[in-house]
Symmetry: C2
Subunit: 169 residues, 2 copies
């Protein structure tokens, strides 16, 4: 089954993200606003107990994560995703690192750029237009997230939370 | 903030429910298929730590829940909801009872009829038509659910999981 690991920010930031996502994000109805810390990966039913116990260990040995949203940005031209950009912080990069070492696969494809997606699957012109407007807006938000969630994907593409892990506990 | 407590069944039952919900359920995009064990209620930020510790205690003292889906039914004419009906089982009714006694409010309005909603906000004619057809289908599913989830509602009506509690642990 396909699983992913995400952090959900507070309702306040989720509501703000959704005010953009409802217009710009094709995945709006599939999952609440989130910060992906591990891209979708397969876990077999047999190895699920082992993986979840590893995740419990990782959460326990990690600190709550500092989130500083400071601007709207895009991966364009690599991809047409628009997002709230989050400042790099060691609490977040350390958690990410632990989720990409034994027994998990490394991520050799991308550098980790922490973000909350607010738009995707738009045309190049739409991206330029939306990003151009949103870059003028002052977006500043700080919070500490004290939990991470393991989710699995249903056949319709939506995600259900399987388990919550408290960071530092 | 508005919270609710739900059980998510396995992907298999969620996928089956979604195959109906996509056509018949106005809440299809707001939350994955679930069994509500506590209707939406308010928790203030101040009392959240107390409530979550209570929920941890309740989960620990409860058993994993037996789920037997055995037919499609409707609350019509009281309400136009269509659902997978779940056999009463003491593991489920005991969990429900614990979630409706001190410090939580009693539910004096409804008897607990455990179910997974697959349709709502349909016209009377649609309900009669859909239920008439689905009652002919053989729907049988058994599973044991070993966790419950506390969720909160965003401004757009969708639900985000706040925490998972393992039953019996």
């Amino acid at each position: 089954m396909k699983y992913g690991i995400a952090l959900f920010p507070t309702k306040k930031l989720q509501d703000l993200a959704n005010s953009f996502r409802m217009r710009y994000d094709s995945h709006y109805a599939l999952i609440p606003p989130h910060i992906t810390v591990k891209e979708p990966f397969e876990i077999s039913d047999d190895s699920l107990p082992y993986i979840t116990s590893k995740l419990r260990d990782i959460a326990k040995s990690s600190s709550p994560v500092e989130i500083n949203v400071y601007k709207v940005d895009t991966f364009s031209p690599q991809s047409n995703t628009i997002f709230f950009k989050i400042k790099e912080h060691e609490t977040l990069s350390e958690l990410y690192a632990k989720l990409h070492q034994e027994p998990f696969e490394e991520n050799t494809k991308y550098k980790f750029i922490p973000h909350v997606t607010i738009g995707q699957d738009l045309s190049n012109d739409e991206v330029a237009d939306v990003v151009g407007r949103l870059r003028m807006k002052k977006i500043e938000h700080h919070e500490v997230i004290d939990r991470m969630q393991l989710l699995y994907q249903l056949e319709n593409g939506s995600w259900t939370v399987y388990e919550t892990y408290r960071l530092g506990e």
